[in-house]
Symmetry: C2
Subunit: 411 residues, 2 copies
């Protein structure tokens, strides 16, 4: 007889397991506060980002390296069960963003039960994990919420060139997980999905491997898969005035439950990489209205120089996307590059998973994307997925939970 | 009239572009030699790994964080054209692994031509990029090479439980790109595919986001998506005797062109994550024969303690995979976790992209995998992709090229 059936190895293993969780917890407790800041004002890659605050983290937060984005459909019509799920998710998100396991080691302390946490992030740093929840238009059809749907969460029209795949679009809920370590982001989404078993199911998910925007102006601007610096003229996390003006819903906007929140448009944009790669440097630069090496606007020397739109071709991307062309419309971009293997024709299924935050979709993504109908870039890209979410305000403290303002008050 | 048509902005931009390449080159020149080593003897994440040597890098090299693996089919039957491609690939790989762009900035210095390099890795560090080429069994059917196919590159039998998808299996060639930054790995595969246009086409590709083996015993052992430490008992890059014995083809083995090479088995192994997550801790630990927290073998206290196989259940994975159960069969594992979104049923398409290097497939993967027919783990996994490659020896110097020993000599 072997000794595997005896209690001792499992207890020891249980201790090992719980012990690792505790060690992690201790490291995380020091977290954001104790760790030194890096030169560009961002947290070091391993540290924890505060979960509580007036706004959800993951929007104005300096962009982390990796993304796992998941859209969920609600499968229960029991409102109480759904509210309980939001509370359970909040508790788990609070722990995971601090670098803890979900729950305290093995479930109920019993080797006979599945562990609370799936374990693959044990021993990894908090990695600046942020978890950001959103509510899709279809959620408001459920649970008698139609009156609460914000007007600023306006349905997107069909745009020129859209070729949307239903299986990569929509969703009652979303969770955006960003972290410097992909295993930490994947672990978080997986554990939320697991907690939601029987109440929600993942509709689609997207991994992003390279940020394409930095929301810290001091950092080196990352490059997208077309090889251009992306995110140069973005709203920075360090610009409270512009965040207030263009990103955060305020008390005048209504509905009240959205105060401190924002709206998110997600678009899966496939790039025709192979065609792009056969385009001349001159044409590539004309298309964006910026040069490839430095990222400077046409006729200017430096990346951060003010673009002179009239020097650009009329169909240049930057010219058409610029606020001056769109009555001031301005969004916060937070997209990621993706590569999901190859399609049936041996072409890389790669592109930009575009994420834009704004105070009102009607004054942000919609007018800009309409203007981009004339974009020279359209020959090389195609929008293949689309989703829209109301991003509720932040979780204020230990007793608060995701969506409380919508689900527990008469807003 | 705008000034975009005039030569000056494009020349300036060309300089900017070339300049960035030079800066990178300079950083890389210091590379592996100049940069300090880290505590565990591995290169720092940003540095360059030597491309030249008796063996290809990417096998005994300490495992980098990310993977982009691509299998190609050859579409030309012009042998000279194919040999030229191998030379062009070698030149590009030599530059990219050192942190340079492909070519010297813009193609021929002309803004009218597409740039040599697609650009998205500009400004990024070499990131310990390694590029490892392999030749699949089907390549030997082409170009009159049937006589040169090594016996040790034995066709894999159909194993119990295999559910292989042709679109994720096979390939005439492979390139394994490993780097600490996924954008660097993706950039490398994309640029090789681009150089191969008209001669080879990508058959399938796989992104791996988290290493599941470390080949440096001092480093913290990474965890796979089942939450267990993976790679504890592996061959380390620091064990020349075991590498010689189990990994590198030597002069006695034949064929001569393979001396210094190895053989690679790649298996895409899907995990039934949702079922696994509902399994008790005790059962999970029984299945592997190790505990989840520490990774110690059953009945032992520490991860590195010698496993006592008889203490494990007869169908425990470690017991069945251990050399003692398989007449000494030993492989070098170098796999990565993957998550490729969700399947039609809302389940994560996630698992282990298993990579095993060995001196002879008949004495490595095949007997171990046969033994694993009885593995308790099989209830939770399924092999859905399979491929096999002869990994030729390393590129010795500036004049040498990938595959020279096969294509230019009477071996
Ligand atoms: C694959 C698709 C896209 C690519 C490759 C791309 C790339 C770029 C690049 C390289 C820049 C210049 C650098 C910068 O300021 O960030 C830029 C700017 C910008 N893009 Fe895009 N973009 C894409 C899609 C979109 C979409 C769908 C929108 C919104 C509907 C958008 C809105 C903007 C805005 C607002 C700017 C800044 C314009 C300015 O103020 O100068 N982009 N984009
Ligand atoms: C999803 C599939 C698999 C998972 C999750 C998995 C996981 C593990 C784990 C956790 C260990 C113990 C730690 C260690 O020594 O690395 C291990 C050991 C091992 N596995 Fe796997 N494995 C998988 C598939 C395979 C396959 C297909 C093979 C080869 C055919 C294999 C061969 C081995 C070997 C040789 C050992 C070391 C045994 C020893 O010497 O103690 N594994 N595996």
């Amino acid at each position: 007889m072997t000794d595997t059936g005896s209690p001792s190895p499992s207890r020891r293993s249980l201790l090992g397991w719980g012990g690792a969780g505790l060690a992690l917890g201790a490291a995380a407790a020091g977290g954001a506060a104790a760790m030194a800041r890096t030169e560009d004002g961002t947290e070091p890659a391993g540290s924890a980002i505060a979960f509580h605050g007036p706004h959800q983290a993951g929007i104005a937060t300096p962009v982390q390296d990796r993304l796992h984005f998941a859209a969920f459909d609600v499968t229960t019509d029991d409102r109480d069960a759904f509210v309980q799920l939001l509370k359970d998710w909040t508790a788990a998100a609070r722990r995971m963003t601090a670098g803890h396991t979900v729950g305290e080691g093995a479930y109920g302390g019993l080797a006979e039960a599945p562990p609370d946490d799936t374990g693959e992030a044990l021993g990894l740093k908090p990695s600046r994990l942020t978890l950001t929840i959103g509510f899709g238009p279809s959620l408001f059809e459920k649970f008698d919420l139609t009156d609460h749907r914000p007007e600023a969460l306006a349905d997107l029209p069909k745009f020129a060139g859209d070729n949307l795949d239903k299986n990569r679009s929509g969703g009652d809920l979303c969770v955006q997980a960003c972290a410097d370590d992909p295993q930490v982001a994947v672990h978080a989404v997986r554990n939320l999905a697991r907690i939601g078993f029987g109440k929600v199911v993942i509709r689609w998910s997207q991994l992003g491997f390279g940020k394409t925007s930095s929301t810290t102006p001091e950092a080196q601007t990352p490059r997208n898969l077309m090889g251009f610096k992306d995110g140069t003229r973005n709203i920075a996390g360090t610009e409270p005035d512009r965040l207030k003006k263009f990103v955060w819903v305020d008390e005048k906007d209504g509905p009240r439950w959205m105060e401190g929140g924002s709206y998110l448009v997600a678009r899966r944009i496939r790039m025709h990489i192979e065609t792009w790669d056969r385009t001349s440097l001159q044409e590539q630069e004309d298309i964006f209205g910026r040069d490839k090496g430095e990222g400077a606007p046409v006729g200017k020397a430096k990346e951060r120089d003010e673009p002179f739109l009239k020097a650009m071709k009329p169909d240049a991307h930057v010219r058409l996307a610029h606020p001056d062309t769109n009555h001031g419309a301005t969004i916060l971009r937070r997209g990621y590059s993706f590569t999901d293997g190859t399609d049936g024709l041996g072409r890389l299924d790669a592109g930009l998973f575009f994420l834009a935050y704004q105070r009102d979709v009607r004054k942000g993504f919609i007018p800009i994307q309409r203007s981009l109908a004339a974009d020279a870039l359209n020959e090389y890209i195609q929008h293949v997925g689309s989703a829209l979410f109301a991003i509720p305000p932040g979780v204020r403290d230990q007793d608060d939970w995701w969506g409380r303002t919508l689900f527990s008050e008469e807003a």
